[in-house]
Amino acid sequence: MWKLLKYMKTYRKEAVLAPAFKLLEALFELFVPLLMARIIDIGIREQDQGYIVQMCLWMAVLGLTGLVCSITAQYFSARAAVGFASKLRSSLFAHIQSLSFSKLDTVGASTMITRMTSDINQVQSGVNLFLRLFLRSPFIVFGAMVMAFTVDAKAAVIFVVVIPLLCVIVFGVMLISIPVYKKVQGRLDRVVALTRENLQGVRVIRAFCREPQEIKAFERENQALVRVQLFSGRISAIMNPLTYVVVNGGLLVLLYTGAGRVDEGILLQGSVVALVNYMSQILVELVKLANLIITVTKAIACGNRIQAVFELQPGMERRAACTQTASQDGRTEEMVSFEHAALRYPGAAADSLTDISFSVKRGETVGIIGGTGAGKTSLVSLIPRFYDVSAGCVKVKGRDVREYPPEELRAMVGMVMQKAVLFQGTIRENLLWGNENATDGELCEAIRTAQAEDVVFGAKSGLDAAVKQGGQNFSGGQRQRLAIARALVRKPEILILDDSASALDFATDARLRQAIAGLPGEMTVFIVSQRASSLKHADKILVLEDGEIADMGTHEELLGRCSVYQEICDAQFPGREDHEQ
């Protein structure tokens, strides 16, 4: 939590001014009883009505000044808290965006979303209250103690006992509460996850008529959450009664010693009244403090959860260029090469890829085919360095991918992932992701190549057609074609199609491949596909099995010698005999 305070830096002025004005206000508040005492001691005793009016006016002035100070304090603290939270949110978002793929895999989206939203909100209100009241309350508590000492040092010793005792209670409860609030947040995460999951899988759930079971599962999680919440509530419910007992215990001792001191003639009756008043002032402040502590405790627990995200290292360091090869001119023949590359995902028991070696020349088309879980996606993910190899290396233009600045590397690569994702906005906005400076002409060209003309221009609004969240207003095939267009807009040197035409019908798929092959320039293309027909014309086909390259060659070569490939093709073209008849 404390490390987060650096985001407060810009608001240092506000963070100092807010409590300062608050203290000023508290100070004015301490003067009011003093004036009232004068009214009683001087005004009433001497029957001086003018004096009484004068003192009352003074009190009004104090009240007004207090009001101004207080509003100033509220303003500064709101500014500091909101500014802090806003900075924190922005930095956390930036940090999450900098996390590597393997980190993203391990953390999971829904916890990050709660941390971005409800956790930060809690921190914001915590900071706000802290600035407004956390200094004021101790100030009044200790101020009252100092006042008590000026009245009677011996009787005031009780304050020295009571105040630390109260601190122990207050901070004790706080210490116990923090882990409990952590648990509450953890439970809340589960509820978020369940809700999200249900919204995403709503079709499947309804198809299986699972609504009642889902509701039951939610009830279970929800009940668990309520139970932890109740437990945490029970802990904080103890605090107020406990402090009340302690303060009033102190009061009794005070009365007891007071009675003795009055009897001895050391103290006056009025002084005892003053001491009692200070004791009750402490109680009033403590009640406020206790409520605050609940909020602040929550804020700290949430702050720690946010801190935990910040502590995740982005995970990928750029390696210093140790081997400066002759690749600087950018025209090397060898575009991509794998040298004994292996990949093991964090936490996985076995390698997903082992000893992968091959190289691809500029302008070549490479097909990758293989069974489910054979490592096709893993393999292409290494090219734009989504993951780091665990052994060997991957080179692009003769240079280890780890030596490139990530932006430079990824700018060379157009990647279309298995699951086509579009973002809320317009089609144009989505396509511009590929290249911000693309003209409408270039966008249309990419759309034509991706066979998405009917998707874009079938609708009246064309490039400005709205895209709903997740592209839900487009079918799977439409999304895939738009995702391909997005990659093409970039005019990448390396284009990777990771099974990204799976929802397309054959005619569209065939036209797409022809169009891509017909593009000017020497684009190196990787096609991961289930369809042998999509790969048939590739210069090189890699057949993957269990994370290893089973064979590599052209369609004809593989048909001749690779049993795995033959089996795939037999399945693929059952209609051949028909046609030959």
Binding site: I40, Q74, G233, P241, T372
Partner: protein
């Protein structure tokens, strides 16, 4: 939300609290005890002080007696406060739990039209963040409102006993405080609402971008996304600043009014004392009570802003809870006979948005056990067919009939459980593999489950997972590959084997070797079952009884493989495109 809506929201909140009436009564009772005793302790203390008039004149017996009473009162007070807190906690957490549950139930009942049109991030924020905020503020409000009101009444009583005239001064001045609080609250409500809306917008963006962070990074869009985020963030922060600042003015402002009350009491009291109408002791008691009386007003006005905020959140939650549910099952609803198979679509018209027509006057007759393949260019309405068959969406006109019965006359359960569906977008829930496979048939035995997994060719990869069938899968399939997820989805359908099947490009990301085996399993599964297959693989299509070639929402060709080829139309062209590659 205007006043009327606010009132409605309050009514709804009260309705949610009603079942906890006993706890509310207990809480109220304890609040009463707590406040009465808190007010009584100073009286006792004052009496103790009265017994110590000067040196040598302290009446120790009386002092000790009173001190015992104080001790008793203090312990009772603490006890009452503890019970009150506990009761309040219980009420608030239970109510928020129940509201969350209601919201979730409603999500399960909302028509897909609603769910497709609303961002899931926003809905999640309603179910979680808004309910949370609403319960938090409610808890604070609940505790402070009760004690505040009772303290006011209690002190008022005590003050009336001492001096009626000065009490009137207090009573006449306090409404000013309430007016100020009301004035500010009315203005802050709008800002809280704007804050809440912007927050929803931001949550939606976070949901979208963090959920698809990999794509964002692949396109190096971090900066642009960040800019967009910062734009919303800045807007949110300015709304928050306004909302928080203006609401926090309430406290100082009412405190100022209160100090005016204090001064008023001091002034009139002092004048009365000068006239001899009041003793100094009475005045000081009065002043302390005036303080007691005005302090709850601070709290209550604080509560008002908190409750405003809670109401804004509650309003959003109730908006979700009260969103129109899907049309309920017809009453009395019919059930399908055992093993239905005949199906017809009669003059079906359907579109997602009125301005863009999709399916018009669609007719189709399916006989029992037929295999219907739907092919056509992407976006021609194939997925829409599934939405209609499963009644995810209702037709605009015309009817879908099974065994001659309009599906709108059937229970959804009866309709949907007679279809087995594998969708293009695989969805795996977090939980074990077992949970996922047994989703449609939770009572399946171990053997049945393994049998289904074997048929779906999922058994071999499941076996290799660290804990086999008990391996826990993370959010949305986590570590499984796309193909493995699809195998699981197939196993899920294999296990319950309903009389009709809908396969939506189900095998598109499974490698072909596995697919052949699945195709074989599907052949046996489809034996005697009416099946709809949205597929691109000609091998699948060729075995179909009827092939529907769709374009722009309409069937343009209909027939079996051979006859369609012979027609040399659109289908033939599609087929050639694939076939040309093979040669």
């Amino acid at each position: 939300m205007n006043n009327e809506e606010q009132k409605q929201t309050i009514k709804k909140v009260l309705r949610c609290i009603r079942p906890h009436g006993i706890l509310v009564a207990l809480s109220l009772l304890m609040a009463l005890v707590f406040v009465a005793l808190t007010l009584y302790v100073p009286v006792l203390t004052g009496r103790v002080i009265d017994h110590m008039t000067g040196p040598g004149a302290v009446e120790f017996d009386a002092v000790f007696g009173l001190m015992k009473q104080i001790l008793g009162a203090v312990l009772l007070t603490a006890g009452a406060q503890w019970i009150m807190n506990a009761a309040n906690n219980r009420i608030v957490y239970r109510v928020s739990g129940e509201v969350r549950e209601q919201a979730f139930r409603r999500i399960e009942e909302l028509p897909l039209q609603y769910l497709d049109a609303h961002s899931s991030g926003d809905m999640v924020s309603r179910v979680v963040a808004d309910v949370d905020q609403f319960s938090d503020d409610l808890l604070m409000g609940f505790t402070q409102l009760f004690t505040g009101v009772i303290t006011i009444l209690g002190t008022l009583g005590f003050m009336l006993c001492v001096n009626v005239g000065i009490t009137l001064v207090v009573v006449l001045l306090t409404p000013v405080s309430l007016l100020v609080a009301r004035f500010i609250a009315g203005r802050t409500y709008r800002m809280f609402r704007r804050q809440s809306e912007t927050r929803g917008e931001q949550t939606a963006l976070i949901d979208e971008m963090i959920g698809n962070q990999k794509v964002v990074q692949a396109y190096g869009q971090e900066k642009r996304v960040q800019e967009k985020f910062d734009e919303i963030n800045d807007r949110l922060s300015s709304y928050s600043l306004q909302a928080i600042f203006f609401s926090s003015i309430t406290n100082p402002a009412t405190r100022f009014v209160n100090s005016l009350v204090y001064i008023g009491v001091g002034l009139t009291g002092a004048f009365a004392a000068v006239r001899g109408a009041m003793t100094v002791g009475q005045l000081s008691a009065f002043l302390s009570y005036a303080n007691q009386y005005t302090k709850p007003f601070n709290e209550i006005s604080g509560v008002v802003t908190e409750l405003q905020n809670a109401l804004a959140c509650a309003g959003r939650v109730f908006a979700l809870i009260e969103a129109a549910a899907q049309t309920p099952d017809a009453d009395p609803a019919e059930k399908l006979p055992e093993d239905p198979g005949c199906l017809s679509l009669e003059h079906v018209c359907f579109s997602y948005t009125p301005e863009k027509k999709l399916i018009e006057d669609f007719n189709l007759e399916v006989k029992e056990g037929q295999r219907i393949a739907i092919v056509g260019p992407t976006g021609c309405g194939k997925t829409t067919m599934i939405n209609l068959l499963m009644r995810f969406y209702d037709v605009d006109s015309g009817a879908v009939k099974i065994e001659g019965k309009d599906i709108r006359a059937l229970t959804r359960r009866s309709l949907r459980s007679s279809f087995g569906m594998v969708l293009q977008d695989t969805w795996i829930r977090s939980g074990t593999i077992r949970d996922n496979i047994c989703m449609g048939y939770p009572d399946a035995s171990e053997e049945e489950m393994i049998e289904a997994a074997k048929k779906a060719h999922a058994h071999s990869f499941i076996k290799r997972l660290p804990q086999g069938y008990d391996t826990v899968i993370g959010e949305n399939g986590g570590s499984l590959s796309q193909g493995q997820r699809q195998l699981l989805c197939i196993a899920r359908v294999m296990l319950c084997l309903p009389p009709m099947l809908i396969l939506d490009e189900a095998t598109s990301s499974i490698d072909l070797r596995t697919e052949i085996r699945i195709q074989k399993a599907f052949q046996t599964m489809m034996e005697g079952r009416t099946s709809f297959i949205v597929a691109h693989r000609l091998s699948t299509v060729r075995n179909a009884d009827v092939i529907l070639v769709m374009k722009d929402g309409n069937i343009i060709e209909k027939g079996d493989h051979q006859s369609l080829l012979a027609q040399n139309g659109f289908y033939a062209k599609l087929y050639e495109a694939q076939f040309a590659e093979v040669q």
